[in-house]
Symmetry: C2
Subunit: 466 residues, 2 copies
Amino acid sequence: MKTFSKAIYTERRKQLKLLVGSGKLLFLGNEESSMNFKDNWYPFRQDSSFLYFFGLDLPGLAAVIDIDEDREMLFGNDLTAEESVWHGATLQLADLADMVGVDKVSSIDGLPKYLKPKTDIHILPPYRPENAQKLAQWLEVSVLQIASLASEVFIKAVVKLRSVKSPEEIREINKAVTCSAAMHKRVLQEAKSGMKEYEIVGMITGEAIRSGGNLSFTPIVTIDGQILHNHNYSQTLTDGKMLLCDFGAETAMHYAGDITRTLPVGPAFSANQKEVYQIVRDAHQTAIESLRPGVRFKNIHLLACKKLAEGLSAIGLMKGNLDDAVENGAHALFFPCGLGHMMGLDVHDMEDLGEQYVGYTETLVKSTQFGLKSLRLGKELEEGYVLTIEPGIYFNPLLIDQWKAEKKHSAFIRYDQVANYRDFGGIRIEDDFVITNGGSELLGEPLEVEIDALEAIRRTALSANA
Amino acid sequence: MKTFSKAIYTERRKQLKLLVGSGKLLFLGNEESSMNFKDNWYPFRQDSSFLYFFGLDLPGLAAVIDIDEDREMLFGNDLTAEESVWHGATLQLADLADMVGVDKVSSIDGLPKYLKPKTDIHILPPYRPENAQKLAQWLEVSVLQIASLASEVFIKAVVKLRSVKSPEEIREINKAVTCSAAMHKRVLQEAKSGMKEYEIVGMITGEAIRSGGNLSFTPIVTIDGQILHNHNYSQTLTDGKMLLCDFGAETAMHYAGDITRTLPVGPAFSANQKEVYQIVRDAHQTAIESLRPGVRFKNIHLLACKKLAEGLSAIGLMKGNLDDAVENGAHALFFPCGLGHMMGLDVHDMEDLGEQYVGYTETLVKSTQFGLKSLRLGKELEEGYVLTIEPGIYFNPLLIDQWKAEKKHSAFIRYDQVANYRDFGGIRIEDDFVITNGGSELLGEPLEVEIDALEAIRRTALSANA
């Protein structure tokens, strides 16, 4: 288990106490998660806010910060000698607490008592059902009510602190992104016609674990790139198709990377593929150049949408006044999702705390328009934010058919021309950035992104493997 | 998604109906499982009994067999066009049902109504908290009560059917074990001093996924082999140490393999390591030779324990009458677990249904003695059972200290000599077998197991890699 220095966690909790002001803050770590029977577990993943404030990467822990009493307490259970036969001798609870600057410990059974009287208790919204159940039991409410008891002041304080990444966090994220880029480089070298998508998934999963971490999310590796979160890997790579690869590693300390590249299965893109790729790449570059503190990310998203619409108009798929088209959401037929999201201990950072809190403000509410409603980040950027830029163009036959039947946005979309792209698939390009004083900085080792560079790698790799 | 033929599922359900006799049998498929926020999912794993009777490897499904009405119904939800943008166009519910011979479907919301009146409803014990919650809600009981409502007649019928593997199941398990053996062969070739345990884990995880399946359980890859279920991979491999590798693949259809080998990190075992290895190997061979229908597995376990005790006595670690030693559980200091377990769609097959039902009978109850209480399978073997044979010898310093302080079994254990093995670690050897008419058959491609054969591979591999 890797942790930052004690002082870092102590300082984070101090800032949190100042922001919340009073009450008891309850942090629930995660449990082991059952796969196909109780004791067959998925790899353990600690809760990210627990990691941020308490750093301990072990199951079965909880913690309370009592602001009024200025007391911090870690809850858990020490293993018995007999349990150590199965799971090894882990550190004692008191040693764990000491590693992260906490000086009081108790068995987990003592927690409910510690929450009495049940006034001014602050919780974060649970996303795992067993934690929702525990909270419901401890706070004596129904499990259906528990989400509504999440504390807004607590959520806002956690979001405020976790949003701005410190230098040691940037270093970890850099590591994660560099590892993610290395995984992509392997795919660029080794993908070839006849392979199954799951062979690529095996290769990159192995790489992520060999680096000492893991994947930061279930990878998307697909020749059906038009399906945004495709987790089916049963297709065979064939020449002429493109392979969309959207994946990343997380480090041993659980900081995420998240990169997407779309590559030709053969040695080169087709003329059509090149055209669409370049449109996405132009939108990607335009967005990157707009990154700086003080700019609303929603505006960068809309700028990228405009760029996409211009390109789609140039190749005859859109028409009319493109400012109007974007304002009305017509481009969302081809780009139905958001330009990017915060990234940190979670690949969609703090998504469990609520997108409205993480990506928006009291005066900037998330839109309900198709496309914009999937934009996770809208608000003004600040120095230290880490985010992804991931424009794309997707041709989803089901969505095309539905819109066409409804004549939706037919002032802006040339459905007759779009029909020629039904089997095109999808293209996405994604990189990760930190917002700096002057603008932004690319995280991780740079990974090839231009058409020429990708094709050069593919040509060499395929002739070497032939 | 791979399924067997329609007729196989129909026949399995027919047998089940005959065994249970009357009532409504409720099957709950699994949901996606959240990692660090709601929509960041672990790889989906379907419930094994759902797979066995309904074969559909997708989240969000449930099924009811109404025996009295002779009606089978599949519950789920079709994706909307908008959802297909994110997750692709999966088959419609009716098509899915048809694939496995079910002719009635309903949206999942319709399920509670279908369970009324709430009499003679049979459920299996839930092991995932969200499924416990759903059952509690549908059956209008508290979530804490739900496990106690599991139906014994339903459990027993499922256990009876799933215990005896059909030819098509044996073929799948063979595939899984062959893949598991190939993963082990790679470790035998590539492990070397200076590597981290997690590098091995990355390598074998990648192999399992590349084969089109996945791991069948969280792997154990450790130089601390004395910790039975060690999931910490942070240690460095060093010459002189042994690496215990206990892992397996599951196929795309979710049948498991499970193999253990213990290898020297350097080119050869030390003299001490060889001695202990040979004791474990002798117990392993003795157990294998005893496998046949009609024999109680508990007796084979005890026979293997006796073999271990004899070996430990020969090298001066045990003493006295060894029959008495085994009867009293003294050997459990070195072998605190069971000789094997059933294997099939789960690596510990049907563990969620209760070990008493799977591994014991009404007249043969699981022992509470330390060691024996971890023996998952005790009852008489039948043709078609698939199981593991996995004896081991472990030197756990914490357990040794505790027993020594208590003078536990000091008539049988030479604590003064055991002291020399405190840092030895542990050795386990495990293979998978199907019980046949005449005895048993090894599953999968054979994997080297003798000292000479292992050392020969290691010597060649290490000199090639040098």
